[in-house]
Amino acid sequence: MASERVLGYARAINEALAEEMRRDERVWMMGQDIGKMGGVFGLTKGLQEEFGASRVRDTAINETFIVGGAAGAALGGTIPVVELQFADFVLTAADEVFHKLAKWRYMHGQFEMPVVVRLPSGVVGGAGAEHSQSLETLGMHIAGLKVAVPATPADAKGLLKSAIRDPNPVLFFEHKGLYRAKGPVPEDPELVVPFGVANVARQGRGMTVVATGLMVGRALEAADRLSEDGIDLEVVDPRTLVPLDIDTIVASVEKTHRLLIVHEAPRTAGFGAEIAQQVQERAFFALDAPVWRVAGTDTPLPQDPELEQMCIPSVDDIVEAARALAAV
């Protein structure tokens, strides 16, 4: 069956890019090393060959141009899909991301801003404090940006296609630790995954776990282990943080009465706090226990590849927290 085709997360993204560029001539790309090299993580391999050096452009090291230029190019009638080499670099172009992309339409009362910023994100392989962060929460706090955090190859492809077709700017957080992950990806080029629709990755009755990106797999693994102890996790992956499908999360909590949120981003003022608070606002009396978080440490990330792993939630951490929360 076509829909049972198995693909890697990176390949799925590459395919989405190629399909959308074939579909719409206005779609084009720029970023560092995305052309001849095909991207430092190989995500854009073959695209310059197929679409030419004009539609797949290698820039200099100029993040403010990559993002701000994309904003300008959107006003000029094109659909730029740009790559920052590491998600952390949103901070080297923060005015362009959080002011230009997010607010230009609002400030000028017109224009569409169909820009996708692809952001290789998260901890993997010792890239250090300024190349490993999970910064998706920032896009949630400042209005005007959509935020996608795909956890599977199918979602990576389907959400990216949605992002490219969206007239709004999208921060697209690809987890570097998932690039080699494999999963079924339907072949249908018209298959898009809509924003704002959570994926219930596992059904369960005992406790709701909300997780994104790399943490979805770890939560599922934790769920497998806990099921042996009779703790039945429901794992909900919001897929996009803006818009956020809070309804699905609340419905799950109303069923399970317990909520554990898992994210790689630092704990304090991370998106887990927001989800917890929204659930609490809407389902206070359904909660049998406090909402808990398993999250990244409130520290910069060390360069060392073993130490950095200790800064983000492991399967063990999730298992332990879920066990304790079940006992509250």
Partner: protein, 312 residues
């Protein structure tokens, strides 16, 4: 420049001047919540450069006045509406004071509130034109102060390497708020920076609208034919304070309020015959007055506008 074009250019310059004066009058009499950064005295740059643009060329303006947009043909009642926070403004009433305004149909694309945003945005729009082959040129206005931002460097390098159809027009009025240009630049001219980017740097008298027009026209020609960007520096003066009401305690060489050295209006006016000029003046004054009244009479925005245009 033929005489019909010259007359139109004069009309633009004098219209901007009357708009400046009308706004000042309003600010002095009643104020409005926000700030107003007057462009009086700099009309020559704004009108001259825009006169060299095609109607479908793209414009990113700077924060000093409305001249850029008036020259590009935007409706003045709409512009004043933005200034006065009226629902009839191009931003639907979100504006007020130092304004954002835009007109997609005329290629008036706006400005960033953070100085220097225009550099990268403008280069990006020019990239779009290059990709689409639409033959449009993007003109980016900016002040001598804004030129200090790193976005200039990133945009200018890439624009030059890609030979983007963009023209950079610096209004060097000698001041960035309280900072004198000569105190914050290591070289005497902004144009001195152009060779670093492998692009021509042109210095022009900003009080001479025709000279500005001609320099811009040449640069636009280069841009349109694929030869890449040009940096134009128009030397002008900031006649008033940074914003209307700024008493400029930091400034010794204050320009007398009503004295505009090398006034572009007079300079251009001298080339128009007296009757025509008087007629244009009267028409412009009237048009400005009518547009301002129209804007004043328009309703303020409904608060629901707050939630509009966050998303497309």
């Amino acid at each position: 420049m033929n005489s019909a074009d010259l007359i139109e250019l004069y009309r633009t310059v004098v219209t901007i001047r009357f708009a400046e004066l009308r706004i000042r009058e309003h600010v002095e009499a009643e104020g409005f919540g926000g700030f107003w950064h007057p462009g009086i005295g700099q009309e020559g740059v704004q009108a001259g450069a825009v006169a060299a643009m095609r109607s479908d060329d793209y414009l990113y303006y700077a924060h000093r006045g409305l001249g850029y947009a008036i020259a590009k043909g935007m409706d003045m009642a709409v512009l004043f509406g933005d200034l006065l926070g009226r629902s009839t403004g191009s931003t639907g009433g979100k504006g007020g004071g130092t304004v954002h305004f835009a007109d997609q149909s005329r290629g008036v694309l706006g400005q960033g509130g953070t100085l220097g945003s225009n550099f990268v945005m403008g280069a990006g729009t020019a990239t779009a034109s290059q990709l689409l082959g639409d033959g449009r040129v993007t003109v980016v206005f900016f002040g001598d102060g804004a030129a200090g931002r790193g976005t200039w460097h990133e945009a200018a390098l890439q624009a030059s390497v890609w030979k983007l159809p963009v023209v950079w027009v610096c209004e060097n009025n000698g001041w960035a708020l309280s900072a004198r240009f000569t105190d914050q630049s290591p070289t005497p001219n902004i144009a001195d920076r152009a060779p670093a980017y492998g692009m021509p740097g042109v210095i022009v008298d900003g009080q001479d609208p025709i000279a500005v027009h001609d320099a811009t026209s040449e640069a636009i020609g280069r841009a349109r034919s694929g030869e890449g960007p040009t940096l134009i520096e128009a030397k002008t003066l900031r006649i008033r304070g940074h914003y209307e009401g700024d008493r400029q305690p930091y400034r010794e060489d204050k320009v007398a309020d009503d004295e505009i050295p090398n006034d572009p209006v007079h300079r251009l006016g001298e080339q128009v015959d007296d009757d025509t000029r008087r007629q244009i003046d009267a028409e412009a004054r009237e048009k400005v007055a009518a547009a301002f009244d129209e804007a004043l009479a328009a309703p303020r925005a409904d608060p629901s506008v707050i939630f509009e245009a966050v998303w497309a």
